[in-house]
Symmetry: D2
Subunit: 288 residues, 4 copies
């Protein structure tokens, strides 16, 4: 194949390719690997943790100790919600289909989409919107009310991060918020998003007359917002976290065995509600 | 980043990149697209079919009419086996998780691995192995027996392409073989792999004393072997075929609605057989 | 695990599970497979084509001959756009990483998202919006102008289905539209969406003073709209179509060999523009 | 759809479904979530780290402090190897195609197959094989020699975990082994797999006359073997680790922008080496 532009100067192609893939994450030369400027051997020797590394890779700097600990808690708390969750079920099914753990993980992480994996991202957006209203001069109560009203008008009544189909009270929320409160007392974070999250919870209860408590997505979103993560990274971080449960279940299923394991046991099956048996019309050109 | 090799001559980078991605499938210049040498506008105007195009793209030449018709039948017959199949179930679950149809399809196609999607490939290998034994001078009966014995010794008792967990007789096999027989009578294919497939079926029945009839994978493998496809392409072609059912089910589920739909309805759930509730040990450095 | 609802009646669980997975696509009992009511053996014997089957599975009925031929052409024409497209490049890279063709296909199909695979879907939506304006009494010219103005206001200046980064004129558009015209003359389709597509093309040229011709996505969108497909299926059908090229390139790369083949040849590499080398701060609790 | 087995006893379906999905990882009732018996609120309050949680989920018990620290280091050290790696390149390309971070991560993790992601798993197998030979009474030198000879006979000359295409010496190996040595001195691990890994390195150097030093896969495999992980989990853990880099690069590319970004800049393209332009033969039934 030729290209319409044939004039070239020495090195132009290389410069173009170097600009095509441009990163400030990793620098490599033979024998040298540095992440954001830190030599890998120093990061290992200094015993930088996985959570700190996640922060460094996505944010560009190492977190403070308090920041790293909060991120660690959020990542740790959301690893799994059982084989009834599509992501986990898919990992287990995949493990019976003859693919490697990498592919079982991929099929599962892939479905952490807007509905199954996006609530944290959406909750961060909601909190940030409310924070911006406060910054613009509103009271917290007004900002929460207005933020929720606008959210419902745009997206409907399901408030991301609040209420749960299975848990009347999500057992992960309170202990995570307790960590945020402690970090706020120590000055590691401001605590404003914990207040906003609780404000949303209170407003929903007052408005609907029933408890719609903060769930794991609402609680981790408080942490991610406190830590200054961009909203889309809340989903990315959830994917990292849930990948742990996905791996564990894929591996447990591998050890249990099974071949081509579908969603239901054989005797429990599906309903067909389409047309009854019928004849295929003769195709055009077919000998009658 | 710099590279250890700094000496360069004009055009060397471009030549290197052109060699890095090298293909005989598609040629493009601005305004021109040719597949295997055929201008796309001519392929459209000549009404080349999708199945013919699949052949052209994977084999390099257009098939004869009879070859194209056999490929078409094999692709058409294997599109779906219902929501109890992991691939289909995954597509439906994914459609409730807030991802596009492309991602629902990807998660599903991904699990067509060695066990769920590899039987056709393995059956082609088995047939080709038996054919090679015949070419080396064995009788068909001896070649079938020896081929099966070696297969069982290497891979165990599950013979790919024969027997079915659900169907006592797979309703797709006989009509597909009938098409092969017809194509053989017309000289489009040799018919030798249909004979080998039937030989395997007969041998299994004689040896075990019960019918272990050819299933869809065994029948499409006969077709792919007759048509000269390399064994791994049998899996690839099955992926194309099953993608049709995957898309249809993902779309049907999308229209049915549902959010984060797991494998089982809520009331039907899983068994936990791990440790009973226990206390987390105090972590090192933790204030007691 | 126990559930809060323990009262059960015989068969209730089965009924619940049967309703959980409900489909009108496929009916199965042992030895029987019917798609939309048609026994598979009849579909095979009647030589129903792959394109007809795709229609049956996604629409519920078999297409007329003219409809099936148009669908076939749209699917056939979009199979590949070379290794510079991310979907194709990913398939080739994956083939060097030690995964099966199913996984190479999955990673590639997965990226046919809103930007890389969604133009057809968006173009169908645009055409349908313009058609609705005509149905509401507007002239075609007014409807095109208003539809485009609203689209640009909502989504920006990139009009899906028109213009191409590489091809001044996309060689696939004219022959596809010629097939639509022929089908309209024969009464297989109305031809109204071909007119709308050409209206958009004319309006863009008049407004901008330069040709922004219909591309493959705009042309296949005309066909999908003429055939009555819902807009999201335009993306799904494109995924089926592009899967052919994805498979062909994954297979070609497999035969070429290569291990862990990255996007660029070794000597052409990336630019690092992050921080220069720096020391990792002492971690908390670390011996100084 | 009906099933051949219609006789049912109350609760039989539920029991069957509960056995279908069976796990010892997670126990849930409304308001309660326990992993391996530990209530999630206790795990959060005790500040269990992400690495400890990964161990708990995949192994069933919490690690000792020393074990957890080694796992943490192995996970942290392998997060990224730059946009020249297919996994990272795919994540970046996907980010320009209009899919969420979850799907960008999925397409990328998916290619960590036998070749791109399997070296750690294979190295653990090699080390375990050598350890078994020592357990059976061989000297370490004999066991290393015999283990390598058998490996080469079965799999060819590429020894997983040793040598690197880019780094003459992998800067990650020595500091990781130093951590293993320290953990062995403290009794957290035995140190035998570090000795075996160094034995392999020494044998390869002596046999080939050139240094083929341990790389990141060989070093993390030492850690995973010391910690008692099954070999396939070495790949799973690598997938978790590399997911960090995959996320970081997908996010960086998202912030850089770009639409449908292929592997090479526009001017650097591919070579077509297929047939020259040719005419499509008239199709059967076509009007001449």
């Amino acid at each position: 194949m030729t290209d319409s532009d044939n004039a070239t100067t020495p090195g132009a192609d290389r410069r173009e390719s170097e600009d095509w893939w441009r990163t400030s994450i990793i620098e490599m030369t033979p024998g040298v690997i540095r992440y954001r400027g830190y030599p890998i051997e120093d990061l290992i020797a200094r015993r930088v943790s996985l959570a700190q590394m996640i922060w460094l890779m996505t944010r560009g700097e190492l977190p403070s100790k308090g920041q790293g600990a909060l991120l660690e808690a959020a990542l740790m708390a959301a690893v799994d919600h059982g084989p009834q969750a599509p992501s986990i079920a898919i990992a287990r099914m995949a493990a019976t289909c003859g693919v490697g753990l990498n592919s079982a993980m991929a099929s599962a992480v892939n479905v952490l989409g807007d509905v199954h994996g996006g609530a944290g991202e959406q909750a961060v957006e909601l909190y940030q919107d409310i924070a911006a209203r406060i910054d613009a001069g509103g009271s917290e109560a007004d900002a929460v009310r207005a933020g929720l009203d606008d959210f419902v008008a745009a997206h409907g009544k399901v408030i991301p991060g609040f209420g749960h189909r299975f848990h009347p009270v999500d057992p992960r929320s309170a202990p995570l918020l307790a960590l945020v409160d402690e970090a706020a007392r120590q000055g590691a974070v401001s605590g404003r998003f914990a207040a906003i999250g609780r404000g949303v919870e209170g407003h929903l209860a007052a408005k609907t007359g029933k408890a719609i408590p903060m769930n794991i997505d609402g609680a981790t979103a408080v942490i991610y917002a406190e830590l200054g993560f961009a909203a889309p990274l809340a989903r990315g971080l959830f994917c990292l976290s849930r990948s742990v449960g996905i791996l564990a279940h894929a591996w447990e299923q591998t050890e249990q065995g099974g071949r081509i394991k579908g969603p239901l046991p054989r005797r429990l099956t599906w309903t067909y509600d389409g047309p009854a048996r019928r004849a295929v019309p003769a195709q055009d050109g077919e000998t009658q």
